[in-house]
């Protein structure tokens, strides 16, 4: 494998990592700040993709679709919070897992009833439809560069909100000691509701951004949810910075592992066995990395101090 190809693969890895970060950011906020396990985060991502695709088709514009998805997913997140999640904050993790799993079943079935079972598509906007030639015969789609930029901007915005604003301060304080913040006269319930709605909106944004390159179909969030949990566990639960670093790490390990493992295995095995063993090893790789990191840092790379 030559250097150009390796660089291209590294870029691909970073880009996949950014996409993972967009999903994991909302998850780590809700999990870390509210100590709430929200398995339904993946379906909120799916909902963002569906709403984005539908609204883009209705308005005839990708940009309106994306823009309208944000308030729509925010509203839906708040509705879910009001109907289901707020009754679970005091309960243990098992109840939360069961209830949010129920939400997954309900919404996966729901989108099927509303949108049908066939996958949908969201067109790439005209402005971003081209590509940049990065190596012979291969275009790097402009839209993927847009995802990179959107991910970095989201990371910056989140950092600013959590570290530099009054609401962010309250959120961090609430995470450390909710009863104390409440005693100081802050409506902690409303704060949590805001965090939750914001997390849902982030997931929806990620879904709408991913819709032009990935298939929009029922259950599309389920695979990504597992990776998102890997990311937040490696990064340290509740840490946005950790989620960012871990998402890039997972994206890189996943992509480079997939492209190099079969070649690596060929040093030891005959080609056909190497291909299959390599493929199997590559899909295990991120979990091996996660296990290794947790062995040395059980609370993740950037644990949140309590």
């Amino acid at each position: 494998m030559n250097t150009t190809l390796l660089l291209v693969q590294a870029l691909n890895g970073l880009q996949f990592g950014i996409l993972l970060f967009l999903v994991a950011a909302g998850l780590t906020l809700v999990f870390g700040v509210m100590d709430f396990i929200n398995l339904a985060h993946g379906v909120q991502y799916m909902l963002g993709a569906y709403l984005g695709a539908t609204l883009a088709a209705l308005t005839g514009s990708f940009w309106w679709g994306l823009l309208l998805t944000l308030p729509a997913t925010l509203a839906f997140g708040l509705l879910l919070e009001f109907l289901v999640f707020r009754h679970l904050y005091e309960r243990d993790h098992l109840s939360q897992v069961l209830a949010t799993f129920g939400v997954i079943l309900f919404l996966n079935q729901g989108v099927k009833a509303v949108f049908g079972t066939a996958p949908m598509q969201m067109p790439v906007p005209e402005l971003l439809s081209g590509g940049v030639r990065i190596m012979d015969g291969l275009l790097y789609p402009t839209y993927r560069i847009a995802i990179l930029v959107a991910g970095l901007a989201t990371a910056g915005l989140l950092w600013f909100l959590v570290e530099r604003t009054r609401v962010g301060m309250l959120v961090r304080a609430g995470a450390t000691n909710a009863p104390m913040v409440s005693a100081l006269g802050v409506d902690i319930r409303r704060l949590f509701m805001l965090v939750f709605g914001f997390g849902a909106m982030l997931a929806g944004f990620a879904g709408a951004m991913a819709a032009p390159i990935l298939s929009v179909e029922p259950g599309m969030g389920d695979n990504l949810l597992i990776l998102a949990f890997v990311v937040i566990v490696i990064g340290g639960i509740g840490s946005v910075r950790g989620a960012f670093i871990a998402a890039l790490l997972v994206g890189l390990v996943e992509t480079i592992g997939r492209s190099m493992m079969p070649d690596l295995m060929r040093l030891f095995l005959d080609p056909s066995a190497a291909r299959q063993a390599g493929a199997a090893m590559a899909s295990m790789l991120i979990y091996v990395v996660m296990a290794a990191i947790l062995a040395f840092r059980p609370a993740g790379l950037f644990p949140v101090r309590r």
Partner: protein
């Protein structure tokens, strides 16, 4: 799938009064309805295929006034949820409680593997309208089992032959890392004589193909061959087009079809597929099927629908031939094997292993005048093709 979601248990189209179902066989006279269990996945990411399969059968029944050979029919839709254990439980219930006369349908081979023994050991005919694994085509052939689709290996080998005919020398192969994927690669290579520049196996949960696309660009093959069913194929096709690789011919099986084309759209234009049927086939039976299907369900039918529609007409011809009497299994089996019906594919007959002997076509994705996308026939690649396993089948003459 790593993250299987158990779906709601539900039975659609339940029989009206369950009390009657346990009635003794005496009551099941000629006037009693024929019960058909239609196994079609209705939940999970692959539900679109099950919907196609169900709608194809339903259209056939509608055109037949909901009768098979003059006897009224009751169709019980069984959602296998793409979980073999669930499929077995529900199919057993259909056999023992509902006493179905036929089991029809089944999209996926692993579901078929799970239900074939319970169904055939109960002396019930099983008509697969999609899954056609090699397991039951050769030594494992079964007098109670028919399929109106094909043997999976045939479809992949059609693409191998097409690549060979086109004079491609260097081909890149890519597939998900599971049994059907490995079978696809073997099927392709059974007829392709050129060089395989690389063979890539991706996880079934793959979302982003950019690593593989970079590899394809660096190897510059004459063509790629892939088997990427469902959402995997949607992702691959769109990303392949976006990466500017579409100048490398895209040969595929079960990757671009009418079930995925609405989501792939223009990205799939000009990509190749292989099948024994396409919506544009020009014969009166097919024209009527496609136009009435689209009028009824408002989407373009895929092979899943066409093969189920054929199964409805096949069973109609068989029940008529035996005069509505389903109790003589040997006569019924001979009547099904006669395949005395007009298939949407044109010529159709069953081989010794009760798999079809039929033509296979190279297909290409095209845009129709109304803006919708469909696969269209390019040329016939294999004629009256018998699957490679039929020779190993020792089919008993009588049941």
């Amino acid at each position: 799938m790593a993250f299987q979601i158990p779906a709601f248990r539900r039975r659609t189209l339940l029989a009206t009064s369950t009390g009657l179902l346990a009635a003794p066989a005496v009551l099941q006279a000629q006037g009693a309805p024929i019960k058909v269990g239609l196994v079609a996945v209705q939940t999970g990411p692959q539900a679109a295929l099950g919907t196609q399969l169900r709608d194809g059968w339903m259209l056939g029944m509608r055109q037949l006034n909901n009768q098979l050979g003059g006897r009224p029919v009751e169709t019980i839709v069984i959602d296998d949820e793409l979980r073999p254990d669930v499929a077995v439980t529900k199919v057993r219930a259909a056999l023992e409680r509902d006493r179905v006369d036929f089991i029809v349908g089944v999209v996926f081979s692993n579901i078929l593997q799970a239900i074939i023994r319970p169904v055939t050991e109960a002396g019930t005919f099983l008509i697969s309208t999609n899954a056609g694994p090699s397991t039951f085509a050769g030594r494992g052939c079964n007098p109670y089992f028919f399929t109106t689709s094909y043997n999976n290996d045939q479809v992949h080998s059609v693409m191998g032959q097409a690549a060979q005919d086109a004079g491609y020398r260097r081909v890149f192969l890519m597939t998900p890392n599971y049994q059907a994927g490995r079978d696809a690669m073997a099927g392709f290579k059974s007829r392709f004589q050129g060089t395989v520049v690389d063979e890539v196996y991706v996880p079934l949960t793959q979302l982003d193909f950019s690593a593989e696309l970079a590899r394809i660009a660096s190897l510059r093959p004459d063509a790629i061959f892939t088997f990427m069913p469902g959402g995997l194929g949607v992702n691959l096709v769109r990303q392949y087009r976006q990466a500017g690789l579409a100048n490398i011919p895209f040969l595929s099986t079960f990757t671009v079809d009418e079930a995925t084309l609405p989501a792939q759209g223009e990205a799939a234009l000009g990509f190749y597929s292989a099948a024994s049927w396409a919506p544009n086939m020009d014969n009166p039976v097919n024209r009527r099927f496609v136009s009435e299907f689209e009028a009824a369900f408002n989407y373009v039918p895929a092979t899943y629908a066409a093969q189920s529609y054929d199964a409805a007409n096949l069973l109609n011809s068989a029940v008529r031939r035996v005069g509505g009497n389903l109790s003589d299994k040997n006569a019924l089996r001979a009547a099904i094997a006669a395949a005395d019906f007009q298939s949407v594919r044109g010529p159709f007959r069953f081989g010794v292993n009760q798999y079809p002997v039929q033509d296979f076509w190279l297909l290409q994705v095209a845009r129709r005048a109304d803006g919708k996308f469909q696969t269209e026939t390019v040329r016939r690649v294999l004629e009256a093709n018998v699957d490679p396993w039929a020779g190993e089948c020792r089919m008993p003459g009588r049941i």
